[in-house]
Every structure is written in C-alpha cells, then in structure tokens.
C-alpha cells in the first residue's frame, strides 16, 4: 500500500505537520517495499485553495491512504473522489504513524473543516 503523510522535515523521525494543505513536505511510503520519498509541497505558496492543490498532488501519486491530523472539506472531496482513504494521524513521528497504520491502530478522519477562504476580496 502507498501512504502519504504531511511532514515538517524530510526524514522518518520528523513530526507530522499540523496542517495538510500548507505542510512543507509530503512523505510517500510503500508499506510493502518500505521505500520512501519526499516532495516539496507546491501548495504552500498558494494564496487560496491550498488544500485542493495538496490533495491533487496526493491523488496524482497514486496514494491509497493519507495520514493527517486534519483536513479541509474541499481537500476531502478531492481525496474521496480519487479513492484515497483519510486516517487521523496520532501525535508523534512519521515512523510512529507508519507503525500504527500497519498495526491497524488508526481511525478514519471524520471531521473536516470548511475552507479557509484565503482568497481575493
């Protein structure tokens, strides 16, 4: 399975970023091969619609499950329609979340915040 986690730094000991849309990096991890790679989050520079753009990137990378502490409604729509499951991450490092996911300890995220409307006028 391919999972993604918004992270503050480019290593498995990094904390999970509190924001999804404006996380500095995304970690992509293959639970079978245990291979991972990182991407700069291009949505960080967006004026608005950051969640949508971030969700697009996740969907484009063929991710099966996103582990995140929170997620906006618009991003959720993109992810859901692209058949990406969204799990609520636990406090701790990316590695701890990967382990918790493998042990089936994570629950699906059920609460999505409205868009921040960070856009013109």
């Amino acid at each position: 399975m391919k999972i993604a986690i918004p992270v503050d730094e480019q290593n498995l000991e990094s904390g999970v970023c509190p924001s999804f849309g404006r996380a500095p990096y995304f970690l992509f991890y293959n639970t079978v091969t245990k291979e991972s790679y990182y991407l700069d989050n291009s949505a960080v520079a967006s004026q608005g619609g950051a969640g949508i753009r971030a969700a697009q990137v996740i969907a484009d990378h063929g991710v099966n499950a996103l582990l995140t502490p929170r997620c906006g409604e618009n991003a959720e729509e993109v992810l859901r329609k692209s058949e990406v499951l969204i799990y609520k991450s636990i406090p701790g490092t990316a590695q701890q979340n990967i382990d918790a996911f493998a042990a089936e300890q994570l629950v699906l995220l059920s609460d999505f915040h409205p868009g921040f409307h960070g856009h013109e006028k």
């Binding site: 004026q47 608005g48 409205p114 921040f116 409307h117 960070g118 013109e120 006028k121």
Partner: protein, 288 residues
Amino acid sequence: MKQLLILSGKGGTGKTTIASAFIRLSDAKAYADCDVDAPNLHLVMAQNAEPERTDYYGMPKAEIDLDKCVECGLCKENCRFNAISDENGFTVDPFACEGCGVCEAVCPAGAVSLKPAVAGELMLYAVDSNAFSTAQLKMGSGTSGMLVTEVKKQMKAAATSDTELAIIDGSPGIGCPVIASLSSVDMVLIVAEPSISGISDLERIIKTAETFRTRVGVCINKYDTNPSNTEKIEEFCRTKGLPFTGRIPFDHEAVKSINNGLTIVDVDCPSGRAVRGVFEKTTNMLFI
C-alpha cells in the same frame, strides 16, 4: 488554547470596546485584531509599542512591459475585471487586477508578467510577554481573508503553550474576512445593537456563523438607547435557542476612556461594570 471571536455584522456596535475589556478581565496572553481593513485594537492595547513588522504578499499583479507591447489589445479584451486600460499605452490597474494570469497567457509578445505585490503588513506586538497579532491591509487590496488567516496563524505561533484563552476582535460585515476569522474558533460572541439596522445585520451574521457550526452567544451593547428593540433581540435569541450573555448600557464614559487609550474596565463606569457580567457568562459557555 480556546479561541473566542467577537463579531457583530453591523459596524460600530462595540466589538473592539468589548474585546479590549475582555482581554483586560481575562488577562489573556494571546489576542488578535482580525479587522485587517480598519484595525483599532492596537490603539487601546499597545499604543506606544513598536511591533515586529512583516510584509504581506497578496495575489501577484500583472505588469505590462511597454517596450514589448504590440498593442493588439488581447489582454484588455480578455480581462474579466476591467483591469486593463489603453489610454496611455496599455497599463494594468493594480487595484482591479486579481492576478488570474489570463493576460499573461494570452499576450502574443510576452509583454505581460505577474509580479509579487505587497498587499499589507502583519504586526506582532510582544507586550508584557503577550502575543498580540494584528495587520493592516493596504488600501484597495483584496485577499483580506488570506491576511486574516495569517493574523490568526501569527498569534497561535507566538502564543506560549500554557495560554488558555485567546481573544479575537473581528471585523464588520459577513464577507471574506469574517468567514476566514470563523475558522477553528471555539466560540463566537455577537455584539448586537438595538436598532432596526442592527437587528437586520444580526440575522445575517448569525446565518453566516451557523455554517461553521461553532457555538454562538449574543450580547447587546447600548441596550438602553432602544429598550423595545432590545426586547425584540432577546426574544429572537430565545426563539432561536441562542444563549444571551448580557446587556451593556450606553455610556459616555466609555467613549472618554477609549479616547484616552483605556479599556472600559480600567476605569469605574456603568458599561465597565456591565461588561464584567457579559464576560463571566461568555467564558462560562466557553469553558464548559
């Protein structure tokens, strides 16, 4: 950290007067002024302090290089915002430009490019180890919602981990800056004014706040200027099941103290005495 947002719908009802009193009464360690268009809270809370200033970049704006321009007019023809004029060569009105990039893409001569534009300034005051975040939107700018989000982020980042309560002074209206300020707050206190206009605006702001499913409380300021309208508002709250957290009388002393840079609880006055009751009822709702 619990966040309390103070809104009103109608302008001039007393948001900042009440927010500053609440800050004083709670000794809040984190507070913010989200009225980025016309910020006032710093006039009471931080008069002589010098804040940390950061430029805020809004949407980039289009600029036309007249040396490259072939005057085909395609940019003007395709601009949905009437932001391009051809009076003295082709120029972009930065106030109308929304940074959509259509002109840049449609120009056959590569004469148009989007450039970053400063749309305002963020200010952070560290007054007595408190985090006071505010901003000023540059006149005529857009992206006020985005700047509000930055003000709240700045406050949260500067607040210490043991901060229990943050007070946010909101802006009038129901548009973008209000919507942006509503995100992830724990409670909204609406300050109502007992006038027909005030009642109409109250209904609209309640409707806006309801879409965020946050708890909403209502208080009435200057209630004695129209007791029958005050009664109407209280009845409206009862019918809608909205908690009513109190009423504050009109008070000339309030104007005087604010003009002297003091909150209404820094002096002994009728409005100051009444706002304590509103504060108590509101914080009880917040910390249940």
